[in-house]
């Protein structure tokens, strides 16, 4: 027996017991399957859809006054799904929005398929529903049926099959059709949902109004990831969703994408600051992927925010005319210089007492940029890679000094100083500031030590 076969047999395990059970079932003529209760399956399906969020910013601009709309949000499915998720202990404050989003996403896909020529085979769907119904009923006796119906779901089985299950089959048919008839101009889920909600905004708004559902926060559709940049082409970067990818594996770009190892992301601004091998944190639109599943389709997720984690863990250091540059930034630079380099994912902190600054831009407590009169007055990085910095320090040929747990690099020309401090917990903090005599207690002593 070959090794592959042995391995597969090990994983499959001994089927003797299963075979005997099967034999009993067949020989006794019991056409009973151990099919799972379809309710949770459908719930899972809708929850999955609900996780995929979409934008609803049109509502923030006010309601449209479109003409009569033949679309109506299916209230029955909405109520049912909401109730299921509540019973499941989901107490998210945006639960109602999630449920509606998931429902509209499914309807949008069906609508999109129809706009491309798909026509629903109602008879076939009806037959499939009937088949499921028969299978389901054959597995349960009356007592069980009543108990489940009353206690668990709160809807009749007829309603479940004729409304909920039918709807899931409608969606499955539409998705299959789209897979088989991919349009030349493939739209993303985001685009399809946007089109749908614009087309039916009045009906949807009416429904939200009726149910008291608040407007959607566009941030719902965003996801975050930390990864490594593997390649860059124009406005697009290829990112592997992991941080330990160094060096870049010896695979072609196509192989990496095919293997699901990396995905392309489109970045609209400041892409020049990003280079391969950098580590990056992305916030992207999770629905900006194509509606059809086509082999080798290149997916471009649209990035809304990003920051280079690399810049903080391993900031570059350079010196020009006595000015130190930490990852391309030096003292005196503007806010926009910082944002251009590190992205817009900062918080503005005005509690910066003792620093002599007026405010600071804080990047997740890992990097802080202090400003005085709109000029960068101090830079501070925490959790810097110790080995990386030790190497930088070793290679630096200008004025430098070492004490027990600190390293100093100093420019006499500009009085700029980089201080690296090893914290007892093992992390390293580095900061860049001006070491004015009156702001630095042991200035003269330090300067003498440097000169020695």
């Amino acid at each position: 027996m070959n090794e592959v076969k042995k391995s597969l047999n090990t994983v499959a395990g001994d089927m003797t017991k299963d075979k005997e059970e099967l034999k009993q079932r067949i020989l006794s003529g019991r056409r009973k399957t151990k099919r799972r209760n379809p309710f949770p399956l459908v719930a899972t399906a809708i929850v999955t859809a609900a996780i995929l969020f979409f934008t609803f910013n049109v509502f923030q601009d006010g309601l449209s006054t479109s003409d009569k709309d033949d679309y109506e949000v299916n209230e029955f499915i909405y109520d049912y799904q909401l109730q299921l998720m509540q019973k499941d202990g989901n107490d998210s404050p945006k639960l109602e929005q999630d449920v509606l989003q998931g429902l509209l996403h499914v309807d949008a896909v069906i609508d999109y398929a129809k706009s491309l020529g798909y026509s629903e085979n109602t008879e076939a769907i009806k037959e499939k529903v009937e088949e499921e119904k028969q299978t389901f009923f054959s597995t349960m006796d009356n007592e069980q049926q009543e108990a489940m119906q009353e206690e668990v779901f709160g809807i009749t089985y007829e309603d479940y099959f004729n409304k909920i299950l039918k709807w899931t089959f409608q969606n499955a048919e539409a998705v299959n059709w789209l897979d088989q008839h991919p349009p030349d101009d493939i739209k993303t889920h985001s685009e399809v949902i946007d089109l749908f909600q614009k087309k039916h905004e009045q009906s949807i708004a009416d429904f939200m109004d009726k149910k008291g559902i608040p407007f959607f926060d566009p941030a719902f559709m965003y996801k975050e990831l930390a990864g490594t940049v593997l390649a860059k082409e124009g406005q697009d970067i290829l990112v592997a969703e992991r941080l330990e990818v160094t060096p870049v594996p010896a695979l072609t770009v196509e192989e990496m994408i095919d293997a699901g190892y990396a995905i392309w992301y489109t970045i609209d601004d400041n892409i020049d600051a990003i280079e391969p091998n950098m580590k990056i944190n992305l916030t992207y639109n999770s629905l900006s992927y194509p509606i059809t599943e086509i082999d080798h389709a290149t997916v471009f997720q649209r990035v809304v925010e990003w920051e280079l984690s690399d810049a903080i863990v391993q900031p570059t250091l350079s010196e020009e005319q006595g000015l130190f540059y930490l990852h391309g930034l030096t003292l005196g630079d503007s806010q926009s210089d910082v944002i251009e380099r590190f992205g817009e994912k900062y918080t503005k902190d005005e509690q910066v007492d003792g620093s002599g600054a007026e405010f600071a831009l804080d990047y997740n407590n890992n990097a802080r940029f202090y400003f005085y009169q709109d000029e960068l007055s101090m830079i501070s990085f925490e959790n810097v890679d110790q080995n990386y910095f030790e190497q930088l320090f070793k290679e630096y040929e200008g004025m430098k000094s070492t004490s027990n747990d600190s390293r100093y690099i100093y420019s006499e020309e500009t009085a700029q100083m980089i201080k690296a401090e090893f914290i007892p917990d093992g992390s390293l903090t580095i900061s860049l500031f001006i070491a004015w005599p009156d702001g630095f207690l042991d200035y003269q002593e330090f300067l003498d030590a440097m000169k020695e």
């Binding site: 070959n2 090794e3 592959v4 076969k5 042995k6 391995s7 597969l8 047999n9 090990t10 994983v11 499959a12 395990g13 089927m15 003797t16 299963d18 075979k19 059970e21 099967l22 034999k23 079932r25 067949i26 020989l27 056409r31 399957t33 151990k34 099919r35 379809p38 399956l41 459908v42 899972t44 399906a45 999955t48 859809a49 899931t168 089959f169 969606n171 499955a172 998705v175 299959n176 695979l251 192989e255 095919d258 293997a259 190892y261």
Partner: protein, 169 residues
């Protein structure tokens, strides 16, 4: 067909079909349901004499039903990616479940179905490329292309020595 004959057929092919269905569905209970349906369909039709080798015929029925199931809404929307590996660990005797032995199979089971089935038929069923093409209704070139891709995907997931096993055989 009398029940004695049916029992004989289940004894001979049941375990094999259960394994095949499991390789497609990665779910033991579901595999049982599918194979049960296959035997019922077979029992009702009793046309196996016309179908050539019984094992191949039943395998084809099983594969088709598994694929039908994989296309269904409920299956498409369930995430088994981690669960089925946990199920393997739970259901199998840990003493028997030698991690080294299962690495190759788990990597295969993680493949998308269109690549997984080629590997299963080639290495597990020991079919030739042409036979796989006939059974799955594909061209021989498609089967070969998928085999190349499947091996590439496995290479990423497997350590070098396991990968060699696939390259040699």
């Amino acid at each position: 067909m009398d029940s004695g004959k049916m029992e004989e057929i289940i004894d001979e092919h049941g375990a094999h079909l259960l394994k095949m269905a499991y390789f497609y569905l990665r779910d033991r209970e579901l595999a049982k349901d599918i194979v049960q349906e296959v035997f019922f369909a077979f029992y009702d039709s009793s046309k196996y004499e016309e179908q050539g080798k019984l094992r191949a015929y039943l395998t084809r029925l099983t594969v088709n039903r598994c694929k039908d199931h994989l296309r269904s809404w409920s299956f498409r929307n369930l995430s088994f990616s981690k669960e089925w590996i946990e199920t393997i660990q739970r259901e199998q005797d840990p003493l028997i479940l030698n991690e080294e032995k299962t690495d190759i199979a788990i990597a295969i089971m993680k493949l998308p179905i269109k690549y997984r089935e080629i590997i299963i038929f080639y290495y597990y069923e020991e079919y030739k490329m042409r036979e796989i093409a006939t059974l799955l209704g594909l061209s021989e070139n498609t089967v070969k292309a998928r085999m190349v891709k499947a091996r590439k995907l496995l290479k990423i997931d497997l350590q070098a020595d396991y990968w060699e096993v696939l390259s040699i055989e």
